[in-house]
Amino acid sequence: MTEPFTRRGAEVRVRLDPEARDVLATLPELLARSGNAGGRLTYRVHPEDTAAEERYRDLVGDALDDLRNADRTAFARGVGESTISLEDAEVWMRVIGEARLALAAMLGIEKDGWENDADPRQSPEMALLSYLGYLQDRLVSVLP
C-alpha cells in the first residue's frame, strides 16, 4: 500500500485517491453537525469548581471554537492539495482527531478495547473511524 504521507523538508506530500479526498472533504460538515461530540469537545478545566470554571470560560470566550473553525477552514482549503505545509499537516491531524471523537460519540464508544471487535463493515461510521485512525497514525509518523 502506498504511504499516504511522505515528508519532504518543510512539506508533506499527500498521496490519496480522489475518493478518499472526497470523504475527507466531508469532515468539516460532519463536525459542524456533531456539535460538541457528546461532550468530548467541551471538556471542563475546573470540574470541581463552578466559579473557577465560569471565570475560565469568561476568560477564553470563543477562542477554542475560533481555533477549531480556523482548522476546519484550512483543512477544507487544502484537502485537494498534493503537498501541504507542516503547519497544515498539524491542522489535518487535529481535524482528523476531532472527527474521530465525533464518530466515536455517534457509535457510543466509551471504553478502551472497542477496536478489538471493530469491523469496518459494521457501519459507514465505523469504517470512517478506522480509516481516519490509519491516516492519523501515518501522519504522526512523518511529522517532527
Partner: protein, 95 residues
C-alpha cells in the same frame, strides 16, 4: 532599555516556588485518541523527549490519568486550552 544588574539578592523564602507549582495539568484516558497521536501532542506542546512522552501516554492509558505539566494558574490554563485544541481530555488540579 536597561542593563542587567551586577548583583541581585535572592529571596529567602520558597514562596515563589510554591506559587509556580500551584497547579497541575492532568490528562485523562479516553478510548479514541491514538497512542501515537497522544505521544506526538505531548512532545509538541511540552517539548518532552520521545521516552518521556511515551511514559506519560502509557501512564494515562494504564492508570487513567497523568500529570503532564504544572505551574502558575495562567500557564496551566493555557496548557489545558492547548490540549483541548488537540482533542485531549485535560483538567486542572492544585498541586
Amino acid at each position: 532599555m536597561t542593563v542587567a544588574p551586577n548583583q541581585i539578592d535572592l529571596p529567602d523564602t520558597s514562596e515563589t516556588y510554591e506559587v509556580d507549582r500551584a497547579w497541575q495539568v492532568v490528562v485523562w484516558n479516553d478510548p479514541v485518541n491514538l497512542m501515537s497521536y497522544v505521544v506526538w501532542v505531548f512532545r509538541k506542546l511540552f517539548g518532552h523527549s520521545l521516552e518521556q512522552a511515551t511514559r506519560l501516554m502509557l501512564q494515562v492509558h494504564n492508570q487513567g490519568r497523568a500529570i503532564v505539566s504544572s505551574g502558575p494558574l495562567e500557564k496551566a490554563e493555557l496548557d489545558c486550552h492547548r490540549l483541548h485544541h488537540h482533542g485531549l481530555w485535560a483538567t486542572l488540579e492544585r498541586a
